[in-house]
């Protein structure tokens, strides 16, 4: 794995997206529209509670879908096989994707956060940019999850169905609907093993606390560790030799 090959891959992924302006527009507009809808249906103070965690979760959903389909296309079109027969390392590919989608996630987080805090009047006790930090890490986590699960899908139909399978249980357990501490014991253990729980916890810290807390830092570090571990696992699923 080399920096030059990883960056070449990131550049290539971004160039591909540039030739698909509709996807690029949807990546930015869809999370903004969803936040706008949420601001519209919820009274101000309730929006301040639901807005920040969802601000991170929308990019996670979008990135998960985009990445799992993009990686699956790479597998089915034969370009993956070609790259692996070349001097490209598996890490070059996986981290190339992560860098490209990470950059997109950054732009997405900046756009969604500034509109949520500006136009939609969202308000938190902590600083607004920390919500943005969580959103970027969430989007990276979505990318890593998408890369990982695409290894288990043979077709696009299967790939998109991994979203309800992998993400919906996390959405139900992450503490958004029922506080993690109020869950039955087994589900509480399960919730604590799943990364989205820490994403929601991190935004809760920003909502309620004016300074960055140790709990916030621990949550973000854990999320980043999850993302890195999933990327490494994703690289492990790429096989040079196939049947």
């Amino acid at each position: 794995m080399t920096a030059a090959r990883t960056l070449a891959t990131a550049r290539r992924v971004l160039l591909q997206l540039r030739h698909d302006p509709r996807t690029l527009a949807m990546l930015l507009v869809v999370p903004v529209a969803l936040m706008g809808l949420l601001a519209w249906i919820l009274p101000g103070r309730v929006f301040d509670l639901w807005g920040p965690p969802l601000l991170g979760i929308f990019p996670l959903l979008v990135m998960f879908l985009v990445t799992s389909v993009a990686t699956l296309r790479e597998r089915t079109s034969g370009t993956l096989e070609r790259l692996l027969s070349m001097p490209a390392g598996r890490g070059d590919l996986i981290f190339g994707y992560a860098v490209a989608f990470g950059l997109l996630a950054l732009v997405q987080a900046v756009v969604v956060s500034s509109l949520a805090f500006g136009a939609f009047g969202m308000d938190v006790a902590g600083s607004a940019w920390l919500v943005g930090v969580v959103a970027v890490v969430d989007a990276l986590l979505g990318t890593a999850l998408g890369l990982f699960v695409s290894a288990f899908a043979r077709t696009e139909f299967q790939a998109v169905q991994f979203m309800p399978l992998v993400l919906v249980p996390q959405l139900l357990l992450c503490g958004l609907i029922v506080a993690v501490d109020d869950l039955p014991t087994v589900l509480r253990w399960l919730a604590r093993a799943l990364p989205l729980t820490y994403a929601v916890d991190a935004t809760r810290e920003v909502i309620h606390s004016a300074t960055t807390t140790a709990a916030f830092r621990a949550d973000v570090a854990l999320l980043a560790a999850y993302a890195l571990a999933l990327l490494a696992l994703g690289a492990g699923t790429l096989r040079r030799r196939t049947a």
């Binding site: 591909q16 030739h19 370009t79 070609r82 027969s85 070349m86 040079r240 049947a243």
Partner: protein
């Protein structure tokens, strides 16, 4: 140009490949000599692609050995020395012709000037800035061929490189393959078009996963008493035909 003592560029011994519970390559042995164009001929589904994938080192094999340039097929050291063109054009539809070649050149560590050289060689100068998805099937497979021509590969494994190519470009591409061989590269080119066989130094005829013949085009025709490779192929399949794989 190469003495009989020169080691072969590709050495396949007793290759067996099982796919989906079926034996698709059955005890195949042959060598590709350095500086030669070797044709791999046979009907669609006969195992050509699987043999090529085994040489590139992306195929799980059930038995036998495949050595390329003295190393085990697929070894890390071979990855920039062996070029592979897959049968389905494995290029990015949402990049331009130049964008595709630039990316693969960076992965290979090939000089940037190679991109324009290759675009000329596969006759895509007019389409260099076009998105690959908007090209015809034949043009797309030329982008894929161009990718295999980047850098200075010593072994080129080309799976049906001239499908959908007009006769003029087909002639030019074969002339280019010949020049590469004269410079010392070794080429294994598959085709189901038998008339391309005459342009090869040596022919491998494959049917149902088995090697029917491994000979020069001239010997093959003389041995079977045929006027063209198509007839030679039939003579080899038909019961009572010439014995397969006569000793070289």
């Amino acid at each position: 140009m190469h003495g009989p003592g020169a080691p072969p560029a590709v050495d396949v011994t007793g290759l067996h490949v099982v796919r989906g519970g079926r034996l698709v390559v059955d005890d195949v042995s042959f060598a590709v000599q350095a500086g030669q164009v070797t044709g791999l001929l046979g009907p669609s589904g006969c195992g050509k692609t699987t043999i090529m994938r085994s040489i590139v080192g992306v195929q799980i094999v059930a038995g036998g050995t495949v050595e390329v340039l003295g190393e085990r097929a697929g070894s890390p050291g071979l990855r920039s020395r062996v070029a592979y063109m897959t049968q389905a054009p494995s290029v990015y539809g949402d990049l331009t012709v130049r964008g595709n070649l630039r990316y693969f050149a960076r992965i290979l560590g090939a000089p940037p000037a190679d991109v324009d050289r290759v675009i000329g060689e596969v006759g895509l100068g007019r389409h260099a800035g076009s998105l690959v998805a908007r090209l015809s099937g034949g043009e797309r497979s030329r982008v894929s061929l161009g990718t295999a021509l980047l850098g200075t590969p010593e072994v080129l494994v080309l799976d049906e490189p001239t499908v959908g190519v007009d006769p003029v470009l087909r002639r030019d591409l074969w002339a280019h393959f010949r020049r590469l061989a004269e410079k010392g590269a070794s080429l294994l080119v598959s085709s189901h078009v038998m008339d391309e066989a005459a342009r090869c130094d040596r022919l491998l005829l494959v049917r149902e996963g088995r090697l029917l013949a491994d000979d020069t085009p001239g010997n093959l025709l003389a041995r079977t008493g045929s006027a063209n490779v198509e007839d030679a192929f039939l003579a080899l399949i038909e019961p009572g035909g010439a014995p397969a794989g006569a000793a070289p």
